[in-house]
């Protein structure tokens, strides 16, 4: 088993209109060569994606070692396999591909193609102890534009990833505290800027610590790369105009509000002490409420795919229509976006302006069941 050589390919799609083909040549336990191609094609009909799951794999394994020449010919064989596959096979990405377990990560900590990224809320947590080899992304200054309200600008993003030693083929595993809520935003930004392989660590930082897994306080040194964004996916991001189009019936989509029920109903503007306020209370008309914490168990791990499907089906979200997810400032909604789009494979987009934009916008329709009036009386 140690020196067996395997050539394999998988065909899967993570979301609507996308086909992902991965080809790999493994020698023993190490990937000698791996490539992922993502095809984005608006004309691929939706029906193809939902009929086949899990991803379709082909593997051929040679027992025993093969020499370098053989490996090279295998690689070229795999390349043609990739090209020949084309767009004829479709599938829905398996849930396990988007979320990795701690055991998987422990086994891959030394894999040079895997980069672990921490995005935690509390400063000082990463410095004092982090998963060995992890790099730190700071949400407030590196994942958003600190001056104007926007996601990280492209140049800043490329610089960040280059310093972290991330390449276009790197498997990025994100984790953080608070059930990965900031890490999920990071995952969304990775996908927005077209990075192919993005995963979340199940249970995040808290579970890793609770399971007493190894931690390090040594800074990780990775060789810098020259990361360039090859393609942006603006379809993953909803703007105010898109949400208004849904509200006014010009566009068909479901709206998902993942804030607490008290905020959803308009009983409060925001939890006490929070400075992310709006001039109006309530929710976007037509939105449904599934608080973001209900997709994880007590230990922070995601619930099973079936449970998640049932949870969202209960409020009418079953993947048949696109979903727009929002919260207060859009960073927790990335967590639910991740569940919907990466785990369940639904067509979901993030509305990162969220309630602080919608609830403060002049002239937009609002549903306010509790009838709370800003300013009183």
């Amino acid at each position: 088993m140690a020196r067996d050589t395997t050539i394999g390919a998988s065909f899967g799609g993570a979301r609507l209109n996308e086909l992902e083909i991965q080809a790999v040549v493994r020698v023993g336990n190490k990937n000698a060569w791996r490539r992922t191609l993502t095809f984005w094609n608006e004309s691929i009909p939706k029906c193809c994606w939902t009929t086949l799951h899990p991803p379709f794999y082909i593997f051929l394994t040679w027992k025993g070692a093969v020499n370098a020449m053989k490996i090279n010919s295998l690689i070229s064989c795999a390349r043609s396999l990739l090209l020949a596959a084309g767009l004829s096979v479709a599938g829905v990405a398996a849930a396990s591909e988007a979320v990795v377990s701690a055991d998987w990560l422990v086994a891959h900590l030394d894999d040079p193609n895997v980069r672990v990224v921490e995005v935690s809320v509390e400063p000082g947590k990463f410095e004092r102890a982090h998963i060995p080899g992890a790099v730190n992304f700071r949400w407030h200054t590196e994942l958003v534009d600190p001056v104007r309200r926007d996601i990280a600008p492209r140049e800043q993003w490329e610089q960040l990833l280059s310093t972290a030693g991330i390449g276009p083929d790197t498997t990025v595993v994100l984790y953080g505290d608070n059930n990965n809520w900031f890490a999920a935003w990071g995952a969304w930004i990775f996908r927005y800027y077209g990075h192919a392989d993005v995963k979340l660590l199940d249970g995040g930082r808290n579970k890793w610590e609770a399971d007493r897994r190894p931690l390090s306080n040594r800074p990780a040194r990775h060789a810098a790369t020259e990361y360039r964004v090859s393609s942006t996916q603006p379809a993953l991001r909803a703007r105010l105009a898109d949400v208004l189009a849904v509200v006014e019936g010009e566009r068909q989509a479901k709206l998902l509000d993942i804030r607490s029920p008290a905020e959803f109903e308009g009983r409060i503007f925001a939890p006490p002490g929070v400075q992310e306020l709006a001039i109006r209370a309530g929710h976007v008309p037509g939105a449904k409420n599934v608080p973001w914490g209900s997709v994880v168990r007590d230990d922070g791990t995601f619930k099973s795919t079936d449970e998640l499907r049932a949870l969202y089906a209960g409020i009418g979200i079953d993947g048949s229509e696109p979903v727009i997810v929002y919260c207060r400032i859009g960073e927790r909604s990335a967590h639910s976006w991740f569940v919907l789009s990466q785990i369940l494979g639904y067509d979901a987009v993030q509305y990162d302006g969220s309630w602080t934009e919608y609830g403060n916008s002049v002239g937009v329709p609002i549903s306010n069941p509790a009838g709370t009036v800003w300013g009183g009386t």
Binding site: P123, R128, N217, G273
Partner: protein, 398 residues
Amino acid sequence: MVPAALVVGIVLFALQLDGVAGLGRDPVFTVLAGAAFGILLQRSRFCFFCILRELFEERDARGALGILVALAVGSLGYLVVLQPWLPDPGVGRLPPDAHIGPVSWVLVAGGLSFGLGMVLSGSCISAHFYRLGEGSTLSPFALLGAVAGFMLGFLSWNSLYVGTLSTAPVVWLPAMLGYGGAATLQAGLLLALALVLLLRVRWPETADASATGAPPTPATLARRVFVERWPTWLGGFGIGLLGFLAYLRTEPLGVTAELGSRARTLAEQLGWVQGRLPGLDGFAGCATVVIDALVTPNGVFILALVAGALAAGVASGNFRPRNYPWHRYPLALLGGVLMGWGAMVALGCTVGVLLSGISAFAVSGWVFAAATTVAVWAGLAANRWRASWPWAEQARIQ
């Protein structure tokens, strides 16, 4: 064997907290560090006010040198920790939760107020905590006063923040000079102060058992460890070490976070302080938040501090609750109020701002230290001038 039982009890309690949520990053370490801190403070009588009083009135520099040792050891330890955490200090970011605060006249005012409060109440806040372990009847009044002082601080915070603090510079030496430059400058300052103390201040003759030439017996050693006052340099060394270990493991040393947070919670419940205090959470220091939990990390630290000091106090025979002249109690209360206000606007006290701040190469630590020292000197001078005050002669708190 009450002290032994206490220590065992503290350790067992610490181990019970392993894995308990809501008590900070490492509750076991917090409890053990708190107990160690309490023991160090009590055994070496490491009170900033008492040390300064010994320096100014008795010309005894040993205590002040102990403070300098604490700062030197703490700085070295922080340097070791900071360099990997923030390899490029000029990048514009501060090290996470190090006590580096804004420098402005508010800080100076806070330091002066704190120093004056120390003179009136007889100790700094951390010393009042350890004196609780010695059975001091004054310290509860001083700490109560501190709570009131914190509330006054919260009332004055908004105007201070909007007027001054929001634009005050947060000066961190390595950001301007690099780690090497900052370390050199700070070492130079500490060395200069040490030289001044060594050369210009008389050392009192210490009657030492070893002066007789006989090797110390176990009984003598036991007495020196458990009963006699530890040399302040030893206490300073231990405190500096503890300070950097605390920063490495959990958070910088500080004793006012719990006090201030309880004060803030109380003020909110009484309706005196409403809503948010702008900018307070953005500054690094002994953070004061509204709490509804039974205990917080700093609360556990303080409890362990008092318990450790109690153990050390009982073992050394210093546990002596006694009655002071009646007028000392309201003075202690007033001093506590001044200390509370000063600690609130300065975002910490002598431990949080002076010790943890200077160790982190913050200019705010030095400014606070200077202001406090000036206030203590002025207070003591006024005290001497009003020599008719009866408590001045009885202020021998060892």
